[in-house]
Point group: C2
Chain length 245, copies 2
Amino acid sequence: MNAVPHPTIALLQSSSLTTVVQQEIERAILQGEYAPGSKLTEADLAQKLGVSRGPVREAFRMLDEAGLVRTEKNRGVFVRDIPIDEAVEIFDLRASMDELVGRKLAANITPAQLKEIRALVDAMEKAVKAEDAYNYHLLNLKFHDRLVEMAGNSKLTAIYRKLIKELSLFRRLNLADGWLLPISANEHRQILKAIASGDQDAAGRAMFDHAMDSKERTIDNDLRRQARATEGAASKHAKAEHAER
Amino acid sequence: MNAVPHPTIALLQSSSLTTVVQQEIERAILQGEYAPGSKLTEADLAQKLGVSRGPVREAFRMLDEAGLVRTEKNRGVFVRDIPIDEAVEIFDLRASMDELVGRKLAANITPAQLKEIRALVDAMEKAVKAEDAYNYHLLNLKFHDRLVEMAGNSKLTAIYRKLIKELSLFRRLNLADGWLLPISANEHRQILKAIASGDQDAAGRAMFDHAMDSKERTIDNDLRRQARATEGAASKHAKAEHAER
DNA sequence: GTCCATTTGTACGTATGTATC
DNA sequence: TGATACATACGTACAAATGGA
């Protein structure tokens, strides 16, 4: 009988200290414990995690390659702050990938998968009625992640998730634009219908359009936020300019 | 007067030893100096490059994240060997990205850019007539890379190039399928026409179809190659099985 | 089962660059 | 403008653990 490896053992076999450190720093960044722009000091992190500086430096190189931090020579590494231009680029790219997802799903989705997606859409509509923006946000992430995963292209899934991580570093995602949730939820329902119908072009278009709408909502939201900020600064005699850098 | 930094100085400021090492190893891998599957010993590379182990290890982490090597704990790092399933996934993904490129270019390309692309297409047709498959291959890479770059989405460009690098680790690209070059060249001409016409959907479709055709050609080629290999092995009383691992 | 090569992780030293006062 | 403190970059040396022959 071939033994099933104990989970802890399997984990120790696959993960080096470096990868554990990398995952922990990534988790902290994505959960907002280190804000975009903040400095990550290797000695501090090493001490905090109880390891030497070597693994931390290697983890930094991984996070840099993944686009989550930026390294300035002789100055250190900083949590990346995704500029709005790059966010727009990522949104466009994601829309194109989502279009591919929609086509593939319309062609290949199974009844069981369809049922799972339908449950998510139902849950999101409930969250809209309850005006629970936070829960909606989580369900929305899950919905899209599952769709991508179900498309059955692991490379696509990996890159999609990387893009989502980077996007989360874009000035605080707009999980607060409550009045737009019904629109988004309705689009999800349309996506579900198109996929279930088996019409590849329609499903692809539905997902593409949804992604682009989501882009418009997020970007517009950010522009308004910026406008308010600079306006506020102006009314304070432009005192906030020091904080810009 | 604000001085323009001397190029050497600017270079020293941006590139650490680690990044130089990373670029050198990457270059060597992509040029085939280290075949897919071969082992990269950090001490050897460090000595060969005249640096200590630190920068080499950090470069390994970058290359791992980029998908060019794989790290097995306590065993070392190896040049990645892209399996055919993953190559198929990458081709599908690239087709989707190319579709986006086609749409964007049909909408935004400038006359000067169009002229540059036309020159590349002309050059490729000349290479076909001269039956110069190698030169055609180089021009083809350049053609697609320029198109992506001209689409004006730097994130898209970066990811596209990463995918191309990974694909080049897929069992030796088929730059030898000479009799198919006219077909490929003709498709390029069609892409050019569609972009020049300004029809976004047509341009997107032309690029998507071309990418998928390219996939079929490459994958079919590989399957035939594999079939020949196993057939040959069978005729040699399956002696080659040791080489498979 | 032992031996050897290699990797993994730690510790420390020095040089260099940056920031701050 | 120094002078100082600090962090990074890179090298080296050493111990422990692993995997293969």
